[in-house]
Symmetry: C2
Subunit: 251 residues, 2 copies
């Protein structure tokens, strides 16, 4: 059975303006690969209701799982939750359990209208726990709505991951060598890729103070194939006079 | 006149697998804002021809400019150029000037078939210079095709930017304060945002060893509006008993 697929929506003007370096794509890409729900697409979109609603509806139909980060706080630019409700065509309403958690968390009088928005969710939402700052994320259908702040998002994903049914983990094997030019190994790599069509064989040049080179990374769900492909690449590099080193210098 | 808009396509399995931390989004987002072609969407897509072709055609119709990074090297996983040709429905053929540059660059016999692919482009492409590793990017229509390696991409963008007609630069003003909770300033922020509808007023919590707080960032093309909005936020924070500091702690 093929693995289920994932799409990530990074929602927030701050990434599109260059203000914030995204830190969520790499984390989720890695973790989703490990649980066998490989990430197939990422979209970074602004805090614009029509864009969020249309994008959620497009990608939830195309992928098995959609993960969103950002836009679930208490301020005027936090509009993800109400947009997801609109995308699903369900009411956006008080979630009793989320409401109770936040009401317990805040001092008397502090659970004000902006904070109550964080306990307002699409009807039918299942909570995603937030061990850091209490205000939960939620799942509705195949859409998982999480915070944008990396350590909160990561805590939410830890909680969410336990109830996701993944496929075979995506594993990776790699080899690299200094002074390799991609153009010298390209034909050999094409032949090796052709022998292992289910693997994703990537060629990544690197430029470092310690020297330039190329890393070849094999990713897929078959460890045997990945190891055989990397052995073949190692042989190719050796035959061309390079000194291959096992592993990925970027890992 | 409204500013022209940009979409970025990050093409490459390595970002979707978590192998590589993207470094191109923040660079391009910042530089495009500075030249008045704000980035409105980013998509990270895999090295799959149908996906690249369909996405290029979708976004080139929706945005004034499309920038792509990745997939223009000599190896089997470098398929951006031929996919862009297919998206435009034009032949993918030897580009005489790119060919001449690479032929001069390589030693006799080294300009082999894989490297010749880097001089093969959609008919009608205009070159984007590559001061680092020679192999050029190109522009066809409103699509600008660049390398994925950050320092090569940055060099290409420097060259490309001189021929892009932008709009008013997007500028930014900010203020932040320790111990602020978003929930306490949310209503005040909503009112300030409403007074400056053309500004993008963002609220960004931060969590640091030196203390937690919230930064408010105003972005737009009117410096006067951004300064007035940030002055109003400063007043709001002061009135609530916080000690606002001008500037963005993430900048």
């Amino acid at each position: 059975m093929p693995n289920p697929t994932a799409c990530l929506l990074v929602i927030g003007n701050e990434v599109l303006s260059g203000r914030t370096q995204d830190a969520n794509i790499k984390f989720l890409a890695t973790r989703l690969g490990e649980i066998g729900i490989p990430l197939r697409e990422v979209r970074v979109i602004p805090d614009v209701p029509e864009t969020i609603i249309a994008t959620v509806n497009e990608v939830r139909a195309k992928f098995d799982h959609v993960f969103t980060t950002g836009g679930i706080g208490p301020t005027h630019d936090d509009i993800t939750s109400e947009c997801v409700a609109a995308a699903f065509g369900v009411p956006w309403e008080k979630h009793p359990e989320a409401w109770a958690r936040l009401d317990r968390h805040y001092k008397p009088g502090e659970f004000n209208a902006p904070r109550q928005r964080m306990a307002t969710m699409p009807r039918g939402a299942t909570l995603i726990d937030n061990a850091i700052s209490i205000a939960p994320g939620f799942t509705i259908g195949n859409v998982h709505v999480m915070a944008g702040v990396p350590r909160i998002m990561q805590s939410m994903f830890d909680s969410l991951a336990t109830r996701l049914a993944g496929g075979d983990p995506v594993i990776s094997r790699a080899v690299h060598a200094l002074r390799v030019a991609e153009g010298t190994i390209a034909d050999g790599l094409t032949a090796i890729q052709a022998r292992y069509p289910d693997l994703d064989l990537g060629s990544y040049p690197y430029y470092r103070d310690s020297g330039n080179g190329v890393a070849i990374v094999a990713k897929g769900t078959s460890t045997a194939d990945a190891e055989a492909a990397i052995a073949a690449v190692t042989e190719l590099m050796t035959a061309l006079g390079y000194a291959p080193i096992q592993g990925d210098p970027s890992a």
